[in-house]
Amino acid sequence: MSVSWATADPPKAVPAGRPISSSSAWRAALLRQTIGIAGLAVLLVLWWGGTKLIAAPGSFLRHFSPLEAVTTLGRLATNSDLPIHVLVSLRRVLIGLGLALVIGVPIGLAVGRSALLNSATSPSFQFLRMISPLSWMPLAVMVLGVGDRPIYFLLAFAAVWPILLSTAEGVRQLQPAWLRLAASLSATRWETLRHVVLPGVLAHVLTGLRLAIGVVWIVLVPCEMLGVSAGLGYFILDTRDRLAYSELTAMVLVIGLLGFLLDAAARGLNRLVTHRH
């Protein structure tokens, strides 16, 4: 299908000095984006139809329509604590990811380098990874107390696996030629790590980070529903308790939007680094 679309409108004469490939790649990207936006529009129409057309007049569902959600969102953004809750949540995400990087990257480097260490840890990591971070919640609260600390722990725990495993994979894919070059220049262990290994695995670390952001964003909201008095998860429960349904819908929208932006940022960072390759 995409082929017939691309050929339906053959490129006009290419301006001199502009390679064909870059101009057609640009067209393909534009096409992709247009289709993506159209898909979002369809989603919006479905949402609107579901709450306005299918739901009977006076039905409970009518509270959740897009129009109400968007107007409420505008009000919340200017006229409430919402920005603070967003900032609190983002801060938790950053701290959780930071901890996961600080723990995951060094362990990943070690595991990627040593086949022995890899065999020794691989089953344990796969086992721990498959436990939903949320199942640690009661334990985390018991050990770390109520407040931000159990949330940091849970987020870091959720984020550490993709970072660790990607880093280890990155080390395995380091080109022997790069290491040989460092050796031929009498590089110390530290110099090899600093100038070859770390930049060489950076793209993989960022891929892991992007996966981690996805996981952390999903785990964040339920984590914030317990024992804290700020953040997106808290706010959702609060709207429910206040029976403020349009605010609830607005919050769902906010969570989706922020997650989308976080992912886009991670992708942008990734592209920035790999483009320099």
């Binding site: 030629a177 790069w178 040989r180 070059l181 460092a182 050796a183 031929s184 220049l185 009498s186 590089a187 110390t188 110099e191 100038h195 070859v196 930049p199 060489g200 950076l202 680094v273 320099r276 390759h277």
Partner: protein, 264 residues
């Protein structure tokens, strides 16, 4: 200048892990300061392996390599090797690739200004000044190879080990780089081991030509080229040597017998 050897291999053998036989037979080798040795030999004979041993990157299975009489246990800061592939780091610009390693702890300590001067000069010498801010994936194969050469030159080593450094270059650039090599040898007195597939290249720059052959590899021929450099004009004398080397190389090539059968 001639006299003491600067790089010496004594009865070096090499065997890779696994149950293949030796790659190198007991191999002897001596390089004098300022001397250029060209190494020829069929593909797969063990030229790159020999160079890695001489560079201290690969411990010989027996025998020893000495630099100025001292046993070599690892890469030496005054020795610079250009690998068969350019081995540029893809995340660094050409300029930073050339500067790579100059500030490492075991390298001779240079001031920042001196490092910058050497990098600029090396990049200019290989003719890549206009590409200095490009990344390796933007360079052609020949440009990448010259960048790798510049990285070696910037270190101003005493010994330069080059593994087919001009293989990806066109005829004109190649002859420019050969002249550059001659200039560096005469300006800095650098000793050079040059692996090449190109007999004419070996004839133009070498003081001695060593032919490797057989399996395990050993030296099966040696020629001294006793002509002043540059040698572009000594065509007839070089031509005689060339015929000699080509026929020796033919005999050394594993495909030799097959070739003859087809020729008849």
């Amino acid at each position: 200048m001639i006299g003491q050897t600067i790089l010496e291999a004594n009865a070096v053998t090499l065997r890779y892990d696994g149950d293949q036989g030796n790659v190198l037979d007991p191999f002897d080798f001596a390089l004098k300061p300022g001397e250029t040795i060209g190494i020829l030999g069929p593909s797969g004979v063990g030229k790159s392996s020999l160079l890695r041993v001489l560079a201290g990157l690969q411990q010989p299975s027996s025998g020893a390599v000495h630099i100025r009489g001292q046993a070599l246990w690892g890469p030496h800061p005054r020795v610079s090797i250009a690998f068969q592939d350019p081995s540029l780091l893809p995340w660094l610009t050409l300029e930073r690739n050339v500067a790579f390693g100059l500030d490492f702890k075991h390298q001779p300590q240079l001031s920042r200004a001196e490092r910058a001067r050497r990098v600029d000069e090396a990049i200019a010498e290989v003719g890549l000044s206009s590409a200095r801010n490009q990344f390796p994936d933007q360079l052609s194969g020949g440009m990448a190879q010259r960048a790798a050469l510049a990285r070696c030159l910037a270190r101003e080593p005493d010994i330069l080990l080059l593994d087919e450094p001009f293989g990806a270059l066109d005829e004109v650039t190649r002859s420019q780089m050969q002249r550059l090599l001659l200039k560096i040898v005469s300006d800095l007195g650098t000793a050079v081991v040059l692996i090449t597939h190109d007999i004419d290249e070996a004839l133009l720059v070498s003081d001695r030509i060593v032919l490797l052959g057989g399996s395990p590899a050993r030296q099966i021929g040696e020629w001294t080229v006793d002509l002043a450099k540059p040698r572009d004009d000594d065509v007839s004398e070089l031509g005689r040597l060339r015929v000699d080397i080509v026929s020796a190389l033919r005999r050394a090539s594993p495909a030799h017998h097959k070739d003859e059968a087809h020729a008849v």
